[in-house]
């Protein structure tokens, strides 16, 4: 009988998160390769090659959520990384510096000994992709330079117009093939195209069940608390090409469906208003951002951020154009009008009364468009919105009291609109 048989989704989540890190540590101990990868770089190639994967963004988010970011940010600051740099990058650079020091001296620096960070090994190579941000290029190039390891760059250009033109898909598919060639050189063996097909199939099964979870927010009242997507997304990022994600997401989606049938909703009978969250979570203050809305009876029933990993493609397409399209069409890699369309659809599906925009100091790409995005969307559907200043992993940028005031005002506006209807 499997160790995970009958395990609840929440337990599966913790189990497989730890297992993925353990896999990497075991691989390192066996002398096998470990890759650090950008979160929406294709995972399929390394998994096909049997390379253990670690995702610095997810790892940094975990450090932030466990209140360990400040220590790593301090290490990065001492190394000269400016506070205007992405805090994921700074936390990761801080962590890498600690691991590097431990590798050189044979002794873990005290800051690492006391850190709540998940224990992951140093990489033997890195893969990055610019489909969610360009900082990732310099960040990963820097990792590679600091550690003197290979850096595979997959160029996925920004889409200034939609739909995605064929030449763009062809270019990105070539980028994929180039990455595969580089992996063949690094690993010293040919790419297994048959296994690649299995990995693509696996990825699609994970994505299918991930989408089943997100789909549950369309019901009113909602069986899904949207903040749970932030918790579960660790696996869609880090394990989507393994069955770890599929098993966990299927269990969670099944639980939610059973709850819906039984009339069990996320907020019991307390759901009053529904909102969309736009932007990355504020990991160091995840509990506060959630509880503030929950205490006001406001439930998140839509968010485009976890939807970045809605990477549906045709696994049988050997041209890789379908896969290329999936990895380039994610909304923050597209023009403003498409971003607006994506958010409007999420709002409609989630029967949303208003939106909270996270103006994230770290994530310029997502945040700088938000001011304009918010105005356009309000002009279309008239739903109120509010924005607040924060940061994904730098706890110092967020002010709990300012967040509470803005969110409460939004809820009051949403309630007034509902009362007027």
């Amino acid at each position: 009988m499997s160790l995970t048989q009958g395990m609840a989704a929440k337990k599966l989540l913790g189990y497989y998160q730890n297992k993925a890190d353990q896999d990497a540590r075991d691989a390192k101990a066996r002398g096998e390769l470990v890759c650090w990868s950008a979160s929406v770089a294709p995972s399929e190639f390394c998994v096909t090659m049997g390379i253990a994967m670690i995702y610095p963004e997810t790892h940094a988010a975990g450090i932030g959520a466990r209140k360990g970011a400040i220590d790593m940010l301090d290490v990065a600051t001492r190394k000269g990384y400016n506070i205007d740099c992405c805090s994921y990058g700074r936390v990761n650079m801080g962590y890498m510096e600690c691991l590097k020091e431990a590798a050189i001296t044979g002794r873990k620096p005290e800051v690492l000994v006391n850190s709540p960070a998940a224990d992951v090994p140093l990489p033997d190579l890195v893969i990055t992709c610019n489909n969610i941000c360009n900082t990732l290029l310099k960040w990963y190039e820097n990792l590679a330079a600091e550690l003197d390891i290979p850096c595979i760059v997959i160029d996925v250009p920004f889409n200034h117009t939609m739909p995605i033109p064929e030449y763009a898909k062809a270019y990105i598919a070539d980028q994929f093939r180039n990455a595969i060639s580089q992996l063949e050189v690094i690993c010293g063996r040919p790419f297994d195209w048959k296994k690649f097909k299995e990995v693509k199939d696996q990825t699609q099964r994970s994505v299918y069940h991930w989408n089943r979870i997100a789909d549950m927010a369309k019901y009113k009242p909602s069986p899904l608390n949207g903040f749970d997507l932030f918790n579960y997304m660790a696996l869609i990022v880090a394990c989507r090409s393994l069955d770890y994600a599929e098993i966990t997401f299927k269990a969670f989606a099944d639980e939610l469906e059973a709850n819906l049938k039984a009339g069990v909703y996320a907020f019991k009978g307390a759901e009053k208003t529904r909102f969309q969250w736009e932007g990355i979570a504020v990991w160091p203050h995840l509990g506060h951002t959630f509880k503030t809305t929950k205490n006001l009876g406001a439930i998140m029933t839509g968010t485009a951020y976890p939807d970045l990993w809605n990477l549906e493609y045709d696994a049988n397409d050997e041209s890789l154009h379908s896969m290329a399209e999936a990895y380039t069409k994610i909304y923050i890699n597209t023009c403003l009008s498409n971003k607006v369309d994506v958010l409007l659809k999420i709002m409609e599906k989630g029967q949303i009364d208003g939106t909270i925009y996270h103006l994230n100091r770290s994530c310029k790409l997502m945040s700088f468009l938000n001011v304009e995005t918010a105005e356009i969307i309000k002009g279309v559907n008239g739903k109120p919105y509010v924005s607040f200043d924060g940061d994904q992993t730098d706890p110092n940028v967020f002010s709990p009291a300012q967040y509470e005031t803005r969110v409460q005002a939004l809820v009051e506006m949403m309630e007034a609109n509902l009362a007027a209807e």
């Binding site: 103006l359 309000k378 109120p384 509010v386 200043d389 940028v397 967020f398 002010s399 009291a401 300012q402 005031t405 803005r406 409460q408 005002a409 009051e412 506006m413 007034a416 007027a420």
Partner: protein
């Protein structure tokens, strides 16, 4: 029926007691805010002024940053309370500029007093009362005197930094160059006004424009806001207490629903 609104801000505590949702029977301000004895003192002052006791109050609503720090029947955001209070006082108000101790906000109202949109300052003291307070200290004057200095200005000494710390250095530099304190005071007020008015422009300016919050008591900032917006602004009566007034109005509505 008597209802009470308490606005516990960052720099001051305000209490308004209303009779039957329309007559103000007490309106008190204590110049210390959340985390201090200010709220308690303001409540005591309101009871003394009105001759009422706690048991006479049918419903209490708290607002402001310290709204969860005291016992009240309900809490509302200061955005909703300022909107409520201003619309009660000035029914023609469509744009509200509120500058308090650590917040600046612009609120757009519809013709029923509903909030169409609002914008607040980011996590920064620029464009708030705290900015003026810091600059007053450098100018070796009081907050109350800042408007007087401004009135005597012959020109505006530009304060280009929006950051309070950098602006403070800029003011010191202006002083060392011999720029008059009057002109600097005017520059400080223009800096605050341009920051706050930027929020108002974001929501689209619609008349009447009403200026409220503690900073609206400073005639220099009122002139600056009017100058930046290139239009007349109505200063709310008792601008420091409009949030508390709105809270007392919400309290009256809630009491009637009970």
């Amino acid at each position: 029926m008597y209802t009470m609104g308490i606005d516990v801000g960052s720099a001051s505590s305000k209490v308004v007691i209303l009779k039957d949702g329309k007559d103000v029977v007490a309106s008190e301000v204590v110049q210390v805010g959340t985390g201090s004895t200010g709220p308690k003192k303001a409540i005591e002052a309101a009871f003394e002024a009105s001759g009422l006791k706690q048991e006479d109050i049918a419903f209490t609503v708290a607002t402001g940053y310290g709204r969860f720090s005291l016992e009240a029947d309900k809490q509302f955001s200061e955005i909703s309370c300022h909107a409520k209070g201003i619309f009660f006082l000035v029914p023609t108000a469509r744009t509200i500029i509120d500058i308090g101790g650590q917040d600046a906000k612009a609120i757009r109202l519809d013709n029923k007093g509903g909030i169409k949109q609002f914008f607040m300052n980011d996590k920064c003291a620029a464009g708030t009362g705290r900015f003026i307070e810091v600059m007053a200290r450098v100018l070796e004057t009081t907050l109350d005197e800042m408007a007087t200095l401004d009135e005597l200005a012959t020109e505006t000494a530009p304060i280009s930094s929006t950051c309070t710390v950098f602006a403070e250095s800029e003011v010191i530099s202006q002083l060392s160059k011999g720029t008059s304190r009057n002109n600097i005071a005017k520059g400080v007020h223009m800096s605050v006004a341009s920051r706050a008015c930027g929020l108002a422009y974001r929501g689209g300016l619609e008349h009447d424009v009403v200026f409220t919050g503690g900073v609206a008591k400073n005639a220099g900032v009122v002139r600056a806001v009017s100058s930046v917006l290139k239009t007349d602004v109505i200063v709310a009566p008792n601008p420091q207490t409009t949030g508390a007034l709105g809270a007392a109005l919400f309290a009256y509505e809630a009491a009637n629903k009970k």
